[in-house]
Amino acid sequence: MTVEPNNSGPGSALVLTDISLALPDRMIMQGFSLTVAPGEVATVMGPSGCGKSTLLSAIAGTLSPSFVLGGAISLLGRDLTTLPTEERRVGMLFQDALLFPHLNLGENLAFGVPAGLTRTERRERVDAALDRAGLAGMWDRDPDTLSGGQRARAALMRTLLSEPAALLLDEPFSRLDAALQERFRDFVFGHVTERQLPTLLVTHDPRDAEAAPGPVIAFEDFAGA
C-alpha cells in the first residue's frame, strides 16, 4: 500500500525568475533564474555565507524582514512571494529531523496530514507512511528513542504526508554516517521521482550532487562581490 498524493498527474515545475536578494548594505544575489522540473533535484553548492540558505528561506517564506527580495517564485501557477509559509505547499527537510519532541511518532506524522479527513483516513495514511519508512507498528514510539536513520525517514514521511508541491532540502544528509547517508539519499530521491516533486537541494557534499537527478549550480558565481 502506498501513500497517494491528492493531485496525481504531472507535477508542476518550481520556477525562479530574476531573483535578487539584498540586505540594506549589500547585494546577496542578482538576476538568478532557475526552473526545476517535476521529479528533478537541482543541487545548489557553495561556501557558507554565499546566500544559498537565504535562497531557501526566500522560497519557504521565512526570510527575515531585513532582506529585500525581488523577482518571482512560481509553483502550481501561483506566485509564492506574497503567500505565507503555510500556504506555499513547499515542504522542507533540515540537517536535523526535528521531530516534535512532545509528540509520539504517529502524532508527528499525523501533524503533517491535511485537515478535513476522518480519523480513520488519517490513521490509514500515517500507518501506510510508517510502513513505507520501515517503521510499521511504531506509532506510539517516543521520537527520541529512534535511530538517526529512522528519524530522518520519519521526517521525510511527515513532509510528504502534507502533500507538498515542491521540496527544499537543507543539507539533510550531512548529519548521517556514510553508509546511512547513501541509503537515505536513495530513499529521498526515490520519493521525489515517484511523486514528481521539483526539489532544491543545498549541500556541501559533492557526492550528493553526483547522486542527484538534475543540474548542479555552483553558487560562488552569484555571490555579489
Binding site: 509559509t85 503555510e86 526535528l98 519532541p101 512532545h102 501533524f111
Partner: protein, 569 residues
C-alpha cells in the same frame, strides 16, 4: 479563519497595549507625586504651586540622617552582594560546589523579602536563635542580654538582610548573562595562555558579562536604596530611612502631611537617580583603572587567596537565609521555647489550629491577586513574544530599559501619586486597583524569565510545522506552547512569587481594605508574637515554593515518556 484574524490583530497591538498598561500608571503616578510635592493637591486645598513644603521637609527632625542612611545602606548592600557573587563565581565557576550552592540559593529567591527579614530578626536578636545556640555555655547569659543586636541603630542587620536576598537574584541574572557569551572558550583560552582560571574569568569573562548584568544591578541598587518592608522590620523606629519617613507621613491622620509625603517621595526618586548616576560614574572609573591591568600580563598565581572567602561568604548568605526561614517555621510549631533552649521543649499544632482563622483571608487575597496578576502578565508577555516571532522582529536593547523602568523607579515615588489618582477615580481599594498595582512588578520579572527560552526555541520547529501547511495559530497552540510548557510554568511561578512578596503596592492601592500575607506579616513584626509571625512566614514562603514545585513537576510528569523533552523542558 475569522478567529485567526482576530488573533493576528491582537498580536500586532499587544506590545503597544502592554506598554500602555504598564507605562501609563507609572507616568501618571509620578505626576501624581510631583504635583503635591509642589503644593498642588486640590482635594486637600492645595490649588497653587509652591515650594513651601520643601522647607517643612528640610526642617523635619532627622530627615538628613534618614536620607543619608537610605543612601549608604543601599549602596553598601549592592556593593557587597555584587562583590560576593563575582568573587564566588570567578573562583568556583565550573566546579561542583558552584552548582550545589546555586541550587541551594535558588529557593531563597522565591521567599519574600519581608519573610527573610522577620526570620533574620529572630536569628540575630538578643533573644534569638544564634544567641540561644551559644548560651549559656559560651556567653554565660541565662537571660537575653540587653544589647541592641537586631534591629541595630547602625542598620547593619538591615544591610545584611538585603545582601542575603540580593545574592541569589544577582547570581541568577549572572547565569542568564553567561548563556549569552562564550564563557568556557574564554576561560580555556586564557588558561592555555597561563592565566589561573579565576583571573582568566575576571579579565576575560567579567568585562563581557557586566554590560548584560548592568540593568539587574541598577534594579538591585534602586530597590536597596528605597525598600520599605525590610526597613520596617530590621531598623529601629529611631533610625528610619527616607522610605520609612514617607510611610509615616503618608499614614499620618493629619492630612497636611500628605504634602510632606509627596516631597519625601520626590526626594526618594532623586536619591535613586543620584545613586544610579554615582554607580554609573564609578563603573567608568573602575573600567579606566582596570583596563591597563587587563593586558598587563599578571597571571594571578596567588588568586586562590580569594577563593575561600568567596565560598565562605556565599555559603554564609545561604545559611542565614535558610536558617531565617527554618527558625520561623519551627516557631510556628513551638509550644514552649524559652531562652536559652536551642530548640523548643515542646511542640504543638495549637497555633495551626487556633490562629489560622486570621490567616485564611490574607492567604486568599494573596492567592487571588498573585494568580490573576501572573495570568494577565503571562497573556501579555506571550502575546508580545509571539508577535516578535511571527513578524521576525529583532528585540532592541532599548526596549529592555522600558521594561526595567518600574524596577528602577522607587515604588513609593509613583505609588503615592497612583494612589491619589485611584482615590480621585474612586478605584482605590478595588480588586482591579490592587491587581494592576501588582501587575506592574509581576510583568517585568515574568518577561525576564520567559523571553530567553521563548526566543531560543529552535525556529526550525515552527518553520517545519508551517511548511506542513498548518496555520500560525495552530502551530502556536500545538507546537510552541507545549514545547515551552516548563519555562511558561516557571515564568508563572516567578510572577506569582513576585506578587506574594509585594508590600507597598498592596498598601497604596488596597486602600486599607486588602491585607495580604506580606502586609500582615510586616504589621506583626512589632508585636513580637513569634509563633504567629512564624505562621505567616511559613505561609509566605510556602505559597511561592508550591508554585515552583508545580512548575518543576508537572512537565516532568506530562512528558515522562518523551526523552527529547528533557533537554528542552
Amino acid at each position: 479563519m475569522r478567529s485567526g484574524e482576530i488573533g493576528n490583530t491582537w498580536l500586532r497591538i499587544a506590545p503597544a497595549l502592554t506598554l500602555l498598561a504598564f507605562m501609563g500608571p507609572v507616568l501618571a503616578g509620578l505626576t501624581g507625586t510631583l504635583l503635591p510635592a509642589f503644593g498642588y493637591l486640590p482635594g486637600l486645598g492645595g490649588t497653587s504651586l509652591s515650594i513651601a513644603f520643601w522647607g517643612d521637609f528640610g526642617d523635619y527632625p532627622g530627615v538628613g540622617s534618614a536620607v543619608w542612611r537610605s543612601f549608604w545602606t543601599g549602596m553598601l548592600a549592592t556593593v557587597l552582594s555584587l562583590a560576593i557573587v563575582v568573587i564566588f563565581a570567578a573562583s568556583w565557576r565550573g566546579q561542583r560546589v558552584f552548582v550545589w550552592l546555586h541550587r541551594g540559593l535558588a529557593p531563597i529567591l522565591s521567599v519574600p523579602h519581608s519573610a527573610v527579614a522577620l526570620g533574620l530578626l529572630f536569628l540575630l536578636a538578643p533573644s534569638g536563635w544564634i544567641m540561644r545556640l551559644v548560651s549559656p555555655w559560651a556567653t554565660g547569659f541565662e537571660r537575653p542580654p540587653d544589647l541592641a543586636l537586631a534591629p541595630d541603630p547602625y542598620g547593619l542587620v538591615f544591610v545584611l538582610g538585603l545582601v542575603v536576598k540580593e545574592i541569589p537574584f544577582l547570581l541568577l541574572m549572572m547565569l542568564s548573562g553567561l548563556n549569552q557569551i562564550p564563557e568556557r572558550q574564554s576561560v580555556t583560552l586564557s588558561r592555555s595562555l597561563g592565566y589561573s582560571a579565576m583571573i582568566g574569568w575576571i579579565k576575560i569573562v567579567l568585562p563581557q558579562l557586566y554590560p548584560v548584568m548592568r540593568l539587574p544591578i541598577y534594579a538591585v541598587l534602586a530597590y536597596s536604596v528605597s525598600v520599605v518592608d525590610m526597613a520596617v522590620v530590621l531598623l529601629p523606629a529611631t533610625s528610619p530611612t527616607l522610605g520609612l519617613l514617607v510611610m509615616r507621613w503618608f499614614n499620618d491622620p493629619d492630612l497636611t502631611y500628605q504634602f510632606l509625603a509627596a516631597v519625601g517621595a520626590t526626594v526618594q526618586l532623586g536619591l535613586v537617580v543620584g545613586a544610579i548616576v554615582i554607580w554609573w560614574g564609578a563603573e567608568r572609573v573602575v573600567a579606566a583603572f582596570a583596563r591597563p591591568w587587563l593586558s598587563a600580563g599578571g597571571r594571578g598565581k596567588l588568586s586562590r587567596v580569594l577563593a575561600l572567602p568567596g565560598l565562605g561568604l556565599a555559603t554564609l548568605a545561604w545559611g542565614l537565609g535558610a536558617a531565617s526561614v527554618a527558625g520561623m517555621i519551627i516557631w510556628s510549631f513551638a509550644h514552649r521555647w524559652r531562652f536559652p533552649d536551642a530548640l523548643p521543649r515542646a511542640y504543638s499544632l495549637g497555633n495551626w489550629v487556633n490562629k489560622t482563622d486570621g490567616l485564611l483571608d490574607p492567604a486568599l487575597v494573596t492567592l487571588v491577586t498573585g494568580g490573576v496578576a501572573a495570568c494577565i502578565a503571562l497573556f501579555l508577555v506571550v502575546s508580545c513574544l509571539e508577535n516578535e516571532q511571527r513578524n521576525r522582529l529583532n528585540p532592541g536593547r532599548h526596549l529592555l530599559w522600558l521594561l526595567y523602568l518600574p524596577l528602577l523607579i522607587p515604588q513609593v515615588a509613583f505609588l503615592f501619586g497612583a494612589q491619589a489618582l485611584l482615590v480621585a477615580f474612586r478605584l482605590d481599594g478595588s480588586w482591579m486597583a490592587i491587581i494592576w498595582a501588582h501587575l506592574l512588578f509581576v510583568l517585568p520579572y515574568l518577561f525576564l524569565s520567559l523571553s530567553d527560552p521563548y526566543r531560543r526555541l529552535d525556529p526550525r520547529y515552527r518553520v517545519t510545522a508551517l511548511s506542513l501547511g498548518q496555520s500560525q495559530s495552530r502551530v502556536f497552540w500545538t507546537i510552541t506552547l507545549p514545547l515551552l510548557l516548563r519555562p511558561i510554568l516557571i515564568a508563572l511561578a516567578v510572577g506569582f512569587a513576585v506578587s506574594v512578596g509585594q508590600y507597598l503596592p498592596t498598601i497604596f492601592a488596597g486602600g486599607g481594605r486588602f491585607a495580604t500575607l506580606t502586609t500582615e506579616a510586616v504589621t506583626l513584626a512589632g508585636n513580637g508574637d513569634r509563633r504567629l509571625i512564624g505562621l505567616y512566614v511559613f505561609a509566605q514562603s510556602f505559597l511561592p515554593f508550591l508554585g515552583f514545585g508545580i512548575a518543576a513537576l508537572w512537565p516532568l510528569w506530562r512528558f515522562r515518556n518523551r526523552r527529547g523533552m528533557r533537554g528542552l523542558v
